[in-house]
C-alpha cells in the first residue's frame, strides 16, 4: 500500500524536476487529446514544440514571435508571483493589463501628433499608473474591509473589458478611421511606437523591461529582507505578524508590483505588437501568466523559462492551427492541463510516497 508522508523539509531536487515532468506528462496527455480530435499526436506535439524553433520554413518568422509573446507573460507573471508567494491572489492581471494599455494610449493620443522625446516615457508612466490604480481597488478593499481580493480582482476584469469596448468604440476611436472601431495605430506613429530594437529578434522595450523585472525580482527575493517577509507572510501569517510584517503593507506591495507590471505589459503591447486599442485587444495574457508563474515555481528564473515555453506553445498552437487544423481552443485546454499536472506533481517536493507493507496485526 502506498502512503503519502510529509518530508521533513522540501526537496530541492523535486522542486526543480516537477515542472519538467509536468511538461512531459502534458505532452503525453495532450497527444491523447489531439488523437481524440483525429490528429496525429506525434506530429501535433512536434509542430507545437519543435517547429517554431527548428523548422526552417517557419522559424525565421516564429522565433522572434516567441520573445514578443513571452515579454508580457513574463512581466505579468513576475508581478503575480510576488503575491502568490505571500498568499495574495491577484487574478485580475488581465484587467490591469487592459487599463495600463488604455491609460498609456490615452496619454499618447492626447498629444498626437506632437513629436517629443518624452512622450513615450510619459506613456510608459501612464501605463504603469493605469495598471496600478486598477490593482489598488482590490488591494484597498482587502485592507480596509477584508473583501476577498480573488473575487474583486477577477470581477474587475469584466469591468475593464467594458471600459476597453467603450474606449475602442467611442472615447479613443480614431477620428480618421472612417467610423471603424479602434484607436489610431500607435505603432505607426514613431514618437509613441514600441518597435523591435534589433531587427528580427522580437526584442522590444517590453521584453527588455521583462528581463529587468526578472533580475530585480531575483535580487529582491534572494537578497532583500522584503523577499523574506513576502515568503513569511505566505507560509506562516502569524509568524509574519510576530516578526513585525504588517499584513496591509504586504497586500499593498504585492498589488502595487503586480498592477504596475501588468499595466506596463499592456502599454508595451498596445504601442507595439497590437498597435492600437481595439475591442479584442486583450488575448488572455493576464490569465496565462498565472500558469507561467506556477510553472516557474514562483521563482524569477523559473518564470523566465516558463514564459518562453508558454510563448512557444502559443506560437506552436497557431502553427498547428494553420498546418493541422488543430482548433485554437485546444491549445488553451493544453495550457490548462499543464497547470493541472504541475499542481498534481507539486506534492512530490513536499511529500514522498512510502511503501507500507502490512504485517499481521
Amino acid at each position: 500500500m502506498l502512503r503519502l508522508e510529509k518530508r521533513p523539509q522540501p526537496s530541492r531536487l523535486w522542486t526543480a524536476l516537477t515542472p519538467i515532468l509536468a511538461v512531459l506528462a502534458t505532452m503525453v496527455a495532450g497527444g491523447l487529446l489531439f488523437a481524440a480530435l483525429g490528429k496525429n499526436p506525434v506530429e501535433a506535439i512536434r509542430v507545437i514544440f519543435f517547429d517554431p524553433l527548428f523548422n526552417d520554413q517557419v522559424a525565421s518568422f516564429a522565433r522572434p514571435q516567441i520573445l514578443v509573446k513571452a515579454g508580457p507573460l513574463i512581466l505579468i507573471a513576475i508581478g503575480l508571483s510576488m503575491g502568490f508567494r505571500a498568499g495574495i491572489w491577484n487574478i485580475g492581471a488581465e484587467g490591469q493589463y487592459i487599463m495600463g494599455a488604455i491609460f498609456g494610449a490615452a496619454v499618447g493620443l492626447a498629444l498626437y501628433p506632437m513629436d517629443h522625446a518624452l512622450i513615450f516615457p510619459l506613456m510608459v508612466v501612464a501605463g504603469a499608473l493605469g495598471g496600478w490604480l486598477w490593482a489598488m481597488i482590490p488591494a484597498i478593499l482587502k485592507i480596509a474591509f477584508r473583501t476577498n481580493e480573488i473575487l474583486v480582482s477577477l470581477l474587475l476584469v469584466y469591468v475593464a473589458e467594458q471600459i476597453l469596448a467603450s474606449a475602442a468604440l467611442d472615447l479613443l476611436r480614431n477620428p480618421d478611421g472612417g467610423g471603424f472601431p479602434g484607436s489610431r495605430d500607435l505603432s505607426e506613429w514613431d514618437t509613441a511606437s514600441n518597435l523591435e530594437l534589433i531587427a528580427g529578434s522580437g526584442m522590444h522595450w517590453g521584453v527588455v523591461t521583462a528581463f529587468i523585472a526578472v533580475i530585480a525580482a531575483y535580487v529582491m527575493l534572494s537578497r532583500h529582507i522584503l523577499g523574506v517577509h513576502l515568503r513569511l507572510a505566505g507560509q506562516a501569517p502569524r509568524a509574519a505578524r510576530f516578526a513585525g510584517v504588517r499584513p496591509g503593507m504586504v497586500v499593498f506591495l504585492c498589488f502595487t508590483v503586480s498592477g504596475v507590471l501588468a499595466g506596463l505589459a499592456g502599454l508595451f503591447e498596445v504601442t507595439g505588437p497590437a498597435g492600437q486599442i481595439s475591442i479584442d485587444f486583450n488575448v488572455g495574457y493576464g490569465f496565462t501568466a498565472i500558469i507561467v508563474a506556477f510553472l516557474g515555481r514562483l521563482n524569477p528564473i523559473g518564470i523566465l523559462l516558463a514564459g518562453l515555453l508558454m510563448a512557444l506553445t502559443y506560437i506552436g498552437g497557431e502553427l498547428a492551427q494553420f498546418m493541422l487544423g488543430l482548433p485554437a481552443a485546444a491549445i488553451q485546454a493544453f495550457q490548462g492541463m499543464l497547470l493541472f499536472f504541475l499542481l498534481a506533481l507539486d506534492m512530490l517536493s513536499n511529500y514522498r510516497f512510502r511503501l507500507v507493507t502490512r504485517e499481521a496485526v
Binding site: 507560509q235 502569524r238 509568524a239 510576530f242 502490512r358 504485517e359
Partner: protein, 525 residues
C-alpha cells in the same frame, strides 16, 4: 490471567526515523484506573491512538475481554466499548453541545431524547452542561465535560484520557477525579495518560512507564514516591535549577489597567490587566488555558495594539508600537506556538533568525540580508542552547519540539534583552530541554533582565518565578510573592476567587464559591 479487560502484547509502531512504540505489553483489569506514564515523545500518544483505532501498529496483538481486538478505525473501537477523551479536544466550536455529542456516537438518539440523556448523565456524574450551547462559548473545562459525556453516553468498558488535567484548575481536577473514581467503581476501566506524578499517585491503581517507546517499568503508584517514578520516566537523576538571589531593580515593563475588547466571538476580552516587572525578577502568569493569556501575549508582542498609555517599557509608552519597534527598544518575546508563530515551519533556521533579528543585530544592511552573518547567528544559538540539528540550513519543521523550543527561546535570550516575555516555554518539551530553558530564563533574570513567563504549568512557575499572578476570564489577579503562597491560595487565584473587580458577569461554572480563605488572601494582598 484471563480477567484482563485489555491486553497488549508486543505492540510496535515505527515512523521514519523514530520507533514510537517498541514491543509494548501490559494489561488493564476491568474497573482499574491504569496510568500510562512518560515524558513527551515517549510514545504514549501513539500507543493510545493504536488502541483507539487511529493508528495501525506494525506488529503486536491486542485482546479485549479475551477476544482478538483489531480496531480498523475509531468507529470499531467505540463499538467494542473503547472511548477516548483527547488532549486537544476533537470538538466543533460552531456546533452545539448536543451536536458534538451526537457526532461522537454510533447510533445517536433523536435530538430531544439526546438532550435529555445529556442532562441526565451530566447530573449523575457532576458534570454540568447545557445541550443547546455552542461549544465555542464554553470554557476549556466545559469543553472537556462535553468530551467526557460524549464518551459516557456510550457506556464504555474502557475510557482513555489523554492528559486530562493539563487544562484544569486544581478544584476542577478534584471534581474530575471524583467522576473517574465513580466510573471505576461502576467497573469502567480507565487508561490515564499523564506526566503529573502526584496526580497519578492519588488516582491510579497501577502504572506502566514508557521511555523512548519502550516499557521501562510497572508499579503501584501509591507505593512509590514521585521522585522514584520520575527517575524511571526520565532515566536520569533530576536536578532542579539553581535559584540565585538577585536584588530587584527598576520597573521595566508595566501594564496599567489594560483593557481590550474581544476580537472575535470566541476570544477573551482583557479587563483592566495591571502588573509591573522589575529587573532581576520573573513574573509568572498562570491560569487555565483560554482565560486571556493568548490575548495578553499578543498585546505584549505588539501583534495587537493596546490603548495608548496602558503599556510601558522603561517608562515609555509602547502600547501603539509594532513588534519590530518594541524589539529595537529592548522587549523581546517568544510566543507559545513554535511552528507557524515563533518560527516559520518551511524556512531554514538561518531564515528564521531574520524574524526577530535585523539591522541592529548586524543581519541586515540597507535592507539586504547578510546571509553569512545570519548563519553565524543561527549557529551561535544552536551551540549555546544545545539545539540538536544537522545545521542551520535545516527547515524549522524538521526539528523536534524540544529542540525548536530551545531555538526560539535561545534566539531571543542570546541577545540578553532588557525585557523578555515568553508563553509556555516548556510546553511539550522533554525534561532535559525543559530544564535547559528554565535555567536560561533564571540566568537571564539574574543578569538583570525583567522576565515574564506565561505558563499553564504551575510547578514550573513556582519553581522559577519571583511573583505569581493568575489570569481568569481576562482579568489578572494582583501578583503575589511566590515564596509566601500556599497551593490552596493559588487554586483560588486560578479560579478567579481573588481578582480585582470580581464582577457578577462571570459565569457560575468558572467561579468557585468564595471562601473565607479567599477573603483572607485578599486582605493580605
Amino acid at each position: 490471567m484471563t480477567s484482563a479487560l485489555l491486553r497488549l502484547s508486543g505492540i510496535t509502531k515505527s515512523y521514519p526515523g523514530v520507533r514510537a512504540n517498541d514491543d509494548v505489553s501490559f494489561e488493564i483489569a476491568p474497573g482499574e484506573i491504569h496510568a500510562l506514564l512518560g515524558e513527551n515523545g515517549a510514545g504514549k500518544s501513539t500507543l493510545v491512538k493504536a488502541i483507539y483505532g487511529l493508528v495501525k501498529p506494525d506488529a503486536g496483538q491486542m485482546t479485549l475481554n479475551g477476544e482478538r481486538y483489531v480496531p480498523a478505525e475509531p468507529r470499531a473501537a467505540r463499538a467494542a466499548g473503547v472511548a477516548m477523551v483527547f488532549q486537544h479536544f476533537s470538538l466543533f466550536e460552531a456546533l452545539s453541545v448536543a451536536e458534538n455529542v451526537s457526532l461522537g456516537m454510533e447510533d445517536p438518539p433523536p435530538r430531544r431524547r439526546l438532550a435529555a440523556r445529556i442532562r441526565e448523565v451530566s447530573q449523575a456524574y457532576g458534570l454540568p452542561l447545557e445541550p443547546d450551547r455552542l461549544v465555542g462559548d464554553l470554557s476549556v473545562g466545559g469543553r472537556q465535560r462535553v468530551e467526557i459525556i460524549r464518551c459516557l453516553l456510550q457506556n464504555p468498558r474502557l475510557l482513555i484520557m489523554d492528559e486530562p488535567t493539563s487544562v484544569l484548575t486544581p478544584q476542577e481536577v478534584d471534581t474530575l477525579f471524583t467522576t473517574l473514581r465513580k466510573l471505576s467503581a461502576e467497573c469502567t476501566a480507565i487508561l490515564y495518560i499523564s506526566h503529573k506524578l502526584e496526580e497519578i499517585r492519588a488516582l491510579c491503581d497501577a502504572a506502566t512507564i514508557l521511555r523512548h517507546g519502550k516499557v521501562v517499568g510497572e508499579c503501584v503508584p501509591a507505593a512509590r514516591s514521585a521522585r522514584e517514578m520520575a527517575e524511571m520516566m526520565v532515566g536520569t537523576d533530576l536536578t532542579p535549577p539553581e535559584r540565585s538571589e538577585t536584588r530587584p531593580g527598576a520597573v521595566m515593563l508595566e501594564a496599567r489597567a489594560l483593557t481590550l475588547p474581544a476580537a472575535t466571538q470566541f476570544a477573551t476580552p482583557l479587563r483592566e490587566v495591571s502588573f509591573a516587572v522589575r529587573t532581576g525578577e520573573i513574573l509568572g502568569i498562570g491560569g487555565v488555558a483560554g482565560n486571556g493569556q493568548d490575548e495578553l501575549m499578543a498585546v505584549l508582542t505588539g501583534e495587537t495594539r493596546a490603548p495608548a498609555g496602558t503599556l510601558l517599557l522603561g517608562g515609555e509608552d509602547i502600547a501603539l508600537a509594532g513588534p519590530s519597534d518594541r524589539r529595537a527598544m529592548g522587549l523581546r518575546t517568544a510566543p507559545e506556538e513554535r511552528l507557524g508563530h515563533a518560527a516559520a515551519p518551511d524556512m531554514s533556521l538561518t531564515e528564521n533568525m531574520l524574524l526577530t533579528s535585523g539591522a541592529a543585530e548586524g543581519l541586515l544592511s540597507r535592507g539586504f540580508v547578510r546571509w553569512a552573518a545570519a548563519r553565524e547567528a543561527a549557529e551561535k544559538v544552536i551551540e549555546t542552547f544545545d539545539v540538536r540539528t544537522p545545521g542551520p540550513a535545516v527547515a524549522a519543521r524538521a526539528l523536534s519540539g524540544g529542540n525548536l523550543q530551545k531555538f526560539v527561546v535561545g534566539r531571543e535570550v542570546v541577545q540578553s534583552p532588557p525585557v523578555f516575555v515568553v508563553n509556555q516555554p516548556t510546553w511539550g518539551v522533554d525534561a532535559a530541554a525543559a530544564a535547559t530553558i528554565r535555567q536560561a530564563l533564571m540566568t537571564l533574570a539574574a543578569t538583570g533582565s525583567a522576565v515574564v513567563v506565561v505558563s499553564q504549568d504551575l510547578d514550573e512557575l513556582l519553581e522559577i518565578a519571583t511573583w505569581f499572578a493568575a489570569m481568569n476570564e481576562g482579568t489578572l489577579s494582583v501578583p503575589r510573592r511566590v515564596a509566601t503562597l500556599s497551593l490552596e491560595e493559588i487554586g483560588l487565584m486560578l479560579g478567579g476567587g481573588e481578582r480585582p473587580g470580581n464582577g457578577p458577569e462571570a459565569p457560575p461554572d468558572a467561579t468557585p464559591p468564595r471562601t473565607q480563605a479567599a477573603e483572607a488572601a485578599r486582605a493580605q494582598a
